[in-house]
């Protein structure tokens, strides 16, 4: 597995889209900090860009990469390798490449302009989101025969998690606002990896407001060691489960 992984990474290191991704993030981040006279605002804008962009690009990149790589993957499947090793190697290689691109593009300028707990959380959750959506992208790609259809499903997944899910949440809140749904809302939000990442960052940015609410549920839920651990575990599951599903689907697939 590591052999496949190694050469796939060498290939990806020269991949123009992976490099382009790093460059795009670099331009966005540096541009934000240069053009935006206020660092706080730049950081908050960057947070929103990262929360939207990393899932989208991880999905689309992984799907397109999988289909570009398909013939070679078939050749690999003819080698004396278990199928699972191929998928794992590809997942590790692609997600590593994208995480490195992300850390390069966002991490470097962030360390220069706005180091601190928010930046740290942003880098951590951005990396986690990359891992999650690489896995989802791989799963989608493996299950589809048609590239365009796979990209379409990827985009739909992104819109759902980015927008529709939150709309649904708000709808639930308004519809059942007279019932004790409060304990339900936070776990429900935390089910969506984008929301969970956003909440983890928000806990730092909007801490002052959150502490204004009696009960300080958010602090209890996420601020405690257990909550942090649960959040990390949830994000990890969001990466591992689709990756495992992709591995299984690929192993069973007729190539």
């Amino acid at each position: 597995m590591w052999k496949v992984c190694k050469y796939t990474l060498i290939d990806l290191a020269r991949n123009r889209f992976a490099l382009g991704y790093a460059l795009l993030l670099l331009v966005i981040t540096v541009g934000l900090f240069m053009l935006e006279p206020d660092n706080t605002k730049a950081l908050i804008t960057l947070t929103q860009v990262v929360l939207a962009l990393t899932p989208l690009l991880a999905l689309v990149f992984t799907i397109i990469w999988y289909f570009n790589q398909y013939e070679f993957t078939v050749l690999l499947a003819v080698q004396p390798l278990p199928r699972a090793a191929i998928t794992r190697a590809q997942y590790i290689a692609v997600s590593t490449a994208l995480v490195l691109s992300f850390l390069l593009g966002v991490g470097l300028p962030l360390m220069a302009w706005a180091p601190g707990p928010v930046a740290f959380t942003l880098l951590l959750t951005g990396s986690a989101l990359t891992l999650v959506f690489c896995a989802l992208g791989l799963w989608i790609a493996v299950r589809q025969r048609d590239r365009a259809r796979a990209v379409g499903i990827g985009l739909a997944t992104w819109v759902t998690m980015m927008l529709l899910y939150d709309t649904l949440l708000l709808w639930i809140m308004f519809t059942f606002s007279d019932r004790p749904i409060e304990p339900l809302i936070i776990p429900l939000a935390a089910l969506n990896p984008i929301d969970l990442s956003r909440i983890l960052i928000m806990l730092r940015i909007d801490l002052a407001a959150l502490l204004g609410y009696t009960g300080a549920v958010y602090q209890q839920f996420f601020g405690s060691g257990g909550g942090m651990l649960a959040s990390a575990a949830a994000l990890l599951l969001w990466a591992l489960v689709p990756a495992a599903l992709a591995t299984r689907a690929f192993a069973r697939k007729d190539l």
Binding site: K3, V74, A77, L81
Partner: protein, 245 residues
Amino acid sequence: MDRIVIEGLGKRYGRQWALRGVNARFAPGEVVMVIGPNGSGKTTLIKCLLGLVHATEGGIVVSGKPVGKDPSYRAGIGYMPQLAEFPRELTVEQLLRMMNDIRDARSGSSDDRLINLLGVDALLDKRISALSGGMRQKVSAVLAFRYRPEILVLDEPTAGLDPVSAGKLLDAVMRARREGATVIITSHIMEEVQRLGDRVVYMEDGRLRFTLPPELIAEATGEKSLSAALPKYIAQLPPQHVEGL
């Protein structure tokens, strides 16, 4: 002893059988040409052998090992797909090294004759993305022959090659045969089939219709060339059994 034993092999996609009731045995030192119209099941048959497609029923045994979850039987297989694609940003040398690593091949154990024969040695520093289609086919051929496979599976091997390289490749096939490999080739070029094949496997509608040496087919129809003999031979076959299809 037969190197490849195919028994009752069937593959169904949805409700459609792509392959059904295929039985065949292939020996060491034998060149098998698989022919048949498009959609006849040639590709599915080969993919089953390579482990790319999971059989719905029946099975294949390769050198005593069943084709299935354990990938180790594939160590003895060399495969040259019809259209070879490799990671675009690797150099040819890196690609060769990657395959070496995957095969755990020690230097010296691999067969590098084709590298020089096909002129791939001049391409070692080049990135895959800089190669033409023909060059990639040559690299693909090198990879297929490199680990002295017991079984060579070549899918339209000469399709993208210039005549000189095609000739060299077919020489390599004959050499592999002499050294005891079982070679399975799909081809549309009847001259090739006639010249190389010890046996012709004819597929139609997911069924294996016959396996015969090419000279017997020619004999039966009184034609000299296989391209002329084959249509005649097929025409006189009894109509296809359709149960279950």
